[in-house]
Symmetry: C2
Subunit: 228 residues, 2 copies
DNA sequence: TCAAAAGTGTTAGTTCTACACCCATGG
DNA sequence: CCATGGGTGTAGAACTAACACTTTTGA
């Protein structure tokens, strides 16, 4: 007699809530489904976990399959498991969220695969509980951004302070004072000023900075408080 | 041709990391397994999700089956899904954590079922990845306590400020200044002082308070910051 | 009457907020 | 030479942290 033999089994899916920061706006990556079920409808990027992979492996694989994106910082949001969440099948989904800094390369990849960015205040109706997932993920990102320098890790390797500020403004959905923002950020002592300037944003140009992972890890261990 | 027919299915388990606050200490509820696999070993309270219930329904049912406890505030921690996490079977587990205020009734229930409390700094070796889950849950509780009045919600309906302080001290693992703690807590304006005193803690007795759920909900909506 | 816990006020230091102006540059 | 965004200093308000004493009462 095997303990497991009479236990139920489930399809396990992963759905990825991918936020992109593009043109000073926060956007959601939405996929136009080319397969059944729900062919033609809009949905998050998602698929089934395979028996030989972990949920997070699956989310990496699925994101790559659907968008070509790799090395994306993705975190588990939570599981969605209502009995009737998918009317077709009993399936639980482990939602994952990510925030990426959109550039031309990424946009090209995404377009090729038929995915599309929607501004966060203008997300269309998605299948199943995907709108709910999106709302939950937004809340989570706002929350996380309060105690982790989520912004830094997600910007390109080199970034300017005005860009970083725009990112936080997009996440918090409010304007921040540039003097205070700058002071605050620099006080954490986890970014390093470079010699170079980025002149795409203005004539004067803004100095580029890079994230200091070593210092950040040290700070993290001593349990510091990150609050913009 | 059915999209789902060639997809893999998984056993889905729930493991409950139940922290108890008892005698001014934070403790973990551990179960002495009476069934295979791992009979005789120590583990968290956990079992399999059934096809007709959601993960959170399962966690409520499982907690009750194993401990008799009901109406416990339980939250999802995260999923554990490494391919080799359970050497016997491919099974993913959705860990849930809770923090409860232990009293005699609870202790009796728990003892009857053969479960046992261990002080948090003295947790024995548990099966599988249960020690990892415990560590992750502890971190989560510390984190959550920073921005939610987790303490209030988990104390009995009526509680004293010294007791609340002890709870926060247990969670943060450090002493707090009673003057400052009191000021801070009262400044949130989400607890109501009662006429009664609790004299179990001292001769003088400490005034009882109750949590003001209505005010708290309002505050929450306006996105307030809770920080002890 | 005294031990033990409950309860209170103040001050110095820190951090936050709000605000206005100069800088560097390409067009 | 000027429009545009980048960059800085400061003062008042709010908050935090650190501290010592009084109150109540049962044993």
């Amino acid at each position: 007699m095997d303990l497991y033999s009479n236990k139920d089994k489930f399809y396990v899916a992963v759905d990825c809530i991918i936020f992109g920061f593009d043109n000073e706006k926060l956007k959601l990556l939405v996929f136009n489904r080319k397969i059944d079920p729900f062919i033609g409808s809009l949905s998050l990027i998602g698929s089934f976990v395979k028996i030989g992979e972990s949920v997070s492996d699956a989310s990496i694989r699925i994101l790559k399959e659907f968008t070509g994106l790799e090395n994306v910082y993705m975190k588990e949001l939570k599981t969605y498991s209502s009995v009737d969440r998918d009317p077709g099948y009993r399936c639980i989904s482990v939602a994952q969220y990510a925030l990426i800094y959109v550039n031309d390369t990424i946009n090209k990849l995404v377009e090729e695969k038929g995915a599309k960015w929607y501004e966060i205040d203008n997300v269309p109706e998605l299948i199943l509980d995907h709108n709910e997932m999106t709302i939950d993920a937004l809340k989570r990102i706002e929350q996380i951004a309060r105690y982790k320098p989520i912004g830094f890790e997600l910007l390109p390797k080199k970034f300017t302070l005005p860009k970083l500020q725009k990112l936080y403004e997009a996440i918090y959905r409010r304007k921040l004072d540039p003097r205070n923002f700058r002071k605050k950020i620099l006080s954490f002592d986890i970014i390093i000023k470079l010699e170079e300037k980025d002149r795409t944003g203005s004539k004067k140009g803004a100095f580029l900075y890079k994230f200091d992972h070593t210092k950040y890890k040290k700070l993290q261990k001593s349990g510091f408080d990150f609050e913009i």
